[in-house]
Each structure stands twice: as C-alpha cells, then as structure tokens.
Amino acid sequence: MTDFNSDMASKKSSLLVADARTQKRNKAEARFRAYGLAAVGVGLLFLVILLTTIISNGSSAFKQTFVTVEVFLDPAKIDKKGNRNIEDLKKATTFTYKPLIQQGLLDQVNAAGYNHPFEKHKAMGQLLSASAAGQVRQFVLDNPDRLGETVEFRLIAASRVDGYLKGRVTRESVARDKNISAEHFDLVDQMQADGLVEKVFNMAFITGADASEARPEQAGFGVSMAGSFFMMLVVLGVSLPIGVAASIYLEEFAPQNWFTDLIEVNISNLAAVPSIVFGILGLAVFIQFAHLPQSAPLVGGLVLSLMTLPTIIISTRAALKSVPPSIRDAALGIGASKMQSVFHHVLPLAMPGILTGTIIGLAQALGETAPLLLIGMVGFIATNMPDTLAEGILSPNSAMPAQIYEWAKRADPAWYERAWGGIIILLVFLITMNTLAVILRRRFERRW
C-alpha cells in the first residue's frame, strides 16, 4: 500500500476558520433552505390569495340593495270588477302592478325634489328588479283589504343599481347599456343619501331559489343547499353501512386469496378514478339502464356514494386495524363468537375513526361537481324548497357546487358575485365538517 495520506499535509487547517470550499457549501446550503422556505411560502401565499379572492368577491352577495317605494294600490286598475273577489284579483298580472309601482316611485322622487331628467314613470322601472311587481302582487293577494291604500314597500333594486352601489357597475360601463343610464345613478345617489335606497343583509340569498338569467338580484342558494343536503343523506345512508360492512369483512373475516386481492386492488383503484368517469357510470347505469329520475338527488347521491365508498372503506379499515388484537382475543377467550367479538367490541372501539373518515368522505362528496353535470343536476330546476323527504330525494334539484357552476357560466357579471357568495357558503360547510372531524379525532383518539 502506498502512502495513503501523503497529500494530507495541506489539510492541517484550523477548525476555527472556514475554508473557501466550506463557505461556498454553506452558501449553497442557505440557498437550498431558502428554496424550501420559498416553496412553503408560495403554497401559503396561494391559499391566502384564494381565500381573499373568495371573500372579497363573494361577501357582497350577502348584501342586497333595496328601494323603499310607496305604492298606491289603485283599485281601479287592480280590481276592475270592484268586488274584492280573490279569484278576480288573481287575474291581475304583474303587468298591472308595474306601472303602479313605477308611478309611485316617480311621484316620490318628484316630491322629494331630486334633480333628474326623467318624465315617464317607465324610466323608474329600470331602478327596480323585474321581481318587484310580483312582490307587490303577492302582498295584495295576501291582504286584499289594503286595496286603495298607499303602502310602503321595500323592493329589490335592479341588478345594475345593486352593482352600482357595490362598485361593480360604473357610469362609464353603462354608457351603452340600454337597461340603465348614468342619470339613473345620479338619482340613486340622491335617494341613497335620504335612505330610500339602501343595502341590507340578503336573507333571500341564503334561503331562496335560483332565478332566471335576467334576474341575478333575485337568485338564492337555499334550494340547492337543500339538494345537497338530500344528496348527503343518500350518501350517508348508502355508503356508511356498505363501507363499514365491506371493511369489516376485508379486515376481520376475509381469507387471503385471489378474490380478496381483487377486491383490495379494486378499492385502491376506485379511489383514483376521475370523478367524471363516475358521472358516466351514473348516467349509463342509473339513468339510461335503471330509469331512475334524472336530476334527482337520489341519483346524485348514489353516484357520490360510489365515489365516497373507497374513502370510507380505507379509513374504516385503518380504524379497525388500530384496535389491538388483545381485545379480540379477550372476547374470544370468554366464549364470544368471532362475529360477536367484532360487533360488540372491535366496532364500537373503532367508531370514532370510522366517523372521522365518514365526515371527511362526505365533505369530499359535498364539493364534487363533475359527475353532477352528467346526471343533469345543473341550474334552474327547482324553484321551491321540497316539502317532504321523498320529494327532496326524488324531485329534480340542483346541488351547491352545480349551482355555482351554473352561475359562473352566465353572462352577466352580477352572477359572478352570486357564484363567489355560493362558494363562501359551501366552504363554511366544508370547514365545519372538517373541524368536526378533527375534534372527533382529538377527542376520541386512543393510544394503545
């Protein structure tokens, strides 16, 4: 062996002085660390950007502009026969009410002495939502005795006016808009100063139904929330028992053979199948093949159940696995059957884990959109809250994410505000569910 350390003489350097190479290496180290920190920072930054975008764009959906109007309920127009018969009153359509409201508003504006160029009452209609007439008509049908009086109404403002107050619509942007003009906005400014036009909390957005394309100011998220709720009921009812049963079999009873392997491979692959493929399955099997009602939460729920099943099975098996064998042995040792040991001892101990997994699976299902598009759960379908469980599950409805998608596709930017607002509601649900899952896990987590 030659002298191994002959070139080592130069290496007798002091530890207290970092040599050039070490300095270079330390710089590389600092750089690398900075890249890592930057990556984490970028990830968090995206989260912040996303959340601020959602909140800044969506929070305005929870406020809506209303106009206070005094309307003279002219019996000569509304009740031509003069007999106050409810059936006859019903014949007066919204077209009868429109001019009354508009005239009321014009009179009010003139009386207040606002500066405006409008002479015809029709010009006032552009300040109000097309749904305002229906609102007044409903009032008359509910209170026919008030006919002939001048009643003060708080009516939904037109979407452009709402947008003007929220800063979405400007005088420049309406230059070529035939629905409204800059002069309208001048008038709105004066009315707002006197409190005749004001933005208030918009309960109808949280409880109401979707509206037609021309009336974004009227649209609400409530019915699609109900749709999602009934879908989640179906998902819970189908995937929880089946998922738990399948997990119990696979974890506790299944022999090691090719069939068990087949099931296991299937489950892990199903977890990664694109959601749109489940939509195709739903369309082909549940609608084309089994003729279940299209657009019904039942079908949506069944499709989402199949998607949620792998999640539930995987977490249930993990929960069952974490129950130590000594518990099983103890039960078997005092003469319980295998089935009794599982149902009486293992399953109750695994329950917190199962519930956590189920909630997380439900949260995933709640946000899923793509399969719902294929089974027709999109858009303007249900106008009323379902009254019974059967109606809720079987009658056509939308769901929260599908409703958001539908709004995002519409042309008027007023719909985007609704879409972001819908996202806020959806995220509130998801955050609540996930927090619940975390609390459950923390509360019942057991270390063996």
């Binding site: 030659t2 191994f4 350390n5 530890l15 207290l16 970092a18 190479r21 070490t22 290496r25 330390n26």
Partner: protein
C-alpha cells in the same frame, strides 16, 4: 479472557488528539453525561465500554457534534481537537466532521453504487482534481477497508447488495475516503456475525497506523482485543480510564471490577 496478550501489548504514548474537559451533556432535563474528562491519543484505539444506557454512545457523538441534529441536546464543557474547541461558535460542524469521521452501529450504505458510496465524501469535500484521482482514492480506501478484492469487479453494483460484514467494511471505506484524522465507531460489529466481526476487528487494528480510533462496544472481549486504552462509563460518569490491560486485569474502581466480572451490566 486472554490476559497474556493484553499484558504483552506494547504501549507507546502518542500525541493527545482529543481532550475533553468537564463535559456535560443534557437531553432536555436529563443529565446524560456528567463531568467527563478524557484524552484520546493519536494512532491509538480507545474503547468506551459500559452497561447499556451508560452514555458511552452519547459521549462518542459529542466528539463530532452528531448531537447537533437532536434539538433538545445541550453540551457543556470543552472538547479540544488539536487544541481547538470544537464547540466554539466559529466552528462549522461540517468541517469538523470531515476531520472526525464516523461509522455507525448498523451498516448504512447509501442506495448508490459501491463506487459512489466511497466517492461520496471526497466529492462533497472536493478532495480530488481529476477522475483518475478519485478512482485512486476509492481504490485506496477500499483496500484500507480490506474489501477491495471482494468488490473490485462490481464497483457499479449497489452497495446495499453486499453482505452485512461487507456493508460495514464499505461504510468504513466510505469514512476513510474522507481522510479523517479521527475515526469514531459506534458498536460497529453489533449487527455482524462472528466471522465478519473478526474481519472488522482486524481492520480496526490496521487503521490505528493512521488515525485515532474511538470505538464504542458492548463487548468487553472486543475492547480487550482491539484497544490500547479503555474508558469505562457508568450512569453517565466516566468511572475509569486507562491502559486496556490495566483496566481488565487490575481495575481500581470496584464498579469497573463488578462490570468486568459480570456482576453489573
């Protein structure tokens, strides 16, 4: 125990390579090493023995600041390497570890080829100019670790494909290739069979020609076979430190005697 061999061993005094003065090590609240003073000589094999949990491995790891990777670990006192305090804030542990190499309990070859395993240290420390230099370093290191003949035909093969004893000798070659001045070995034979252990022990004796070697072992026979100096640790205290022959034949502390005769440990 082969007392004759120990007695006959020639003992020369060498330069002090590492001097530890009043070293204390804390793991959080736990005082793991208490007031340890020890001098490690160059070109000598020093063995640390003692019952499990006595702090011998912990003390070994303070010698090249491997404890830095553990957050709750705190070291007090001085450890001087060639007269320089290695816990001085100006010291870069990276530079220190290049001088004080380490071999671990379990063979841990990187999942790379045998060649790349050995070339790893020279590459990160920039110890070569040309590819031929590097080839040279790799070959010398493998020869030093007495494994060259077994692996010279499969340098491109994976290091993890070797047997346990070969893997440990590969790890020694890897440590030697960095041209350290001190080689720390933390129970290097505990995962090996007796034949591999004999090979590694033989190797340690050869390595003494160039380095200061510190070996932690749980086997008293091994300490007796390979070391010139022995330190006996007990419950975080350095109980006795001296010539191996003396410690094994004529211990001055009753605890050492109890351990050596098998009453504690």
């Amino acid at each position: 125990m082969n007392d004759m061999r120990i007695m006959e061993r020639s003992v020369e005094t060498n330069d002090i390579k590492i001097a530890a003065n009043k070293v204390q090590v804390f793991y959080g609240e736990n005082h793991a090493i208490k007031d340890v003073d020890v001098q490690i000589e160059d070109k000598t094999v020093t063995a640390f023995i003692g019952p499990s949990g006595c702090g011998k491995s912990t003390f070994l790891r303070t010698l090249n600041r491997m404890n830095d990777t553990i957050d709750i670990c705190r070291v007090e006192g001085d450890i001087l390497l060639d007269g320089e305090n290695i816990y001085d804030p100006k010291v870069d542990p990276v530079q220190l570890r290049a001088k004080v190499g380490m071999v671990f309990q379990k063979p841990n070859p990187f999942p790379k080829s045998i060649y790349d395993n050995v070339a790893y240290g020279p590459r990160i420390h920039g110890l070569f100019q040309t590819k031929a230099d590097l080839d040279n370093i790799v070959e010398k290191s493998l020869r030093r670790a007495a494994i060259w003949d077994e692996v010279k035909d499969r340098l491109d093969g994976p290091g993890t494909g070797l047997s346990g004893g070969q893997q440990q000798r590969l790890c020694i070659a890897r440590a030697v290739a960095t041209e350290p001045e001190v080689l720390l070995m933390d129970e290097p034979c505990s995962a090996l069979d007796p034949i591999a252990t004999a090979q590694v022990e033989e190797l340690i004796d050869e390595l003494r020609e160039k380095f200061a070697v510190v070996i932690v072992t749980h086997s008293m026979q091994q300490a007796a076979r390979v070391s010139q100096k022995t330190a006996f640790f007990h419950l975080g205290n350095l109980v006795e430190f001296g010539e191996t022959g003396q410690i094994f034949t004529n211990p001055s502390d009753p605890r050492t005697e109890s351990y050596i005769s098998g009453r504690i440990g």
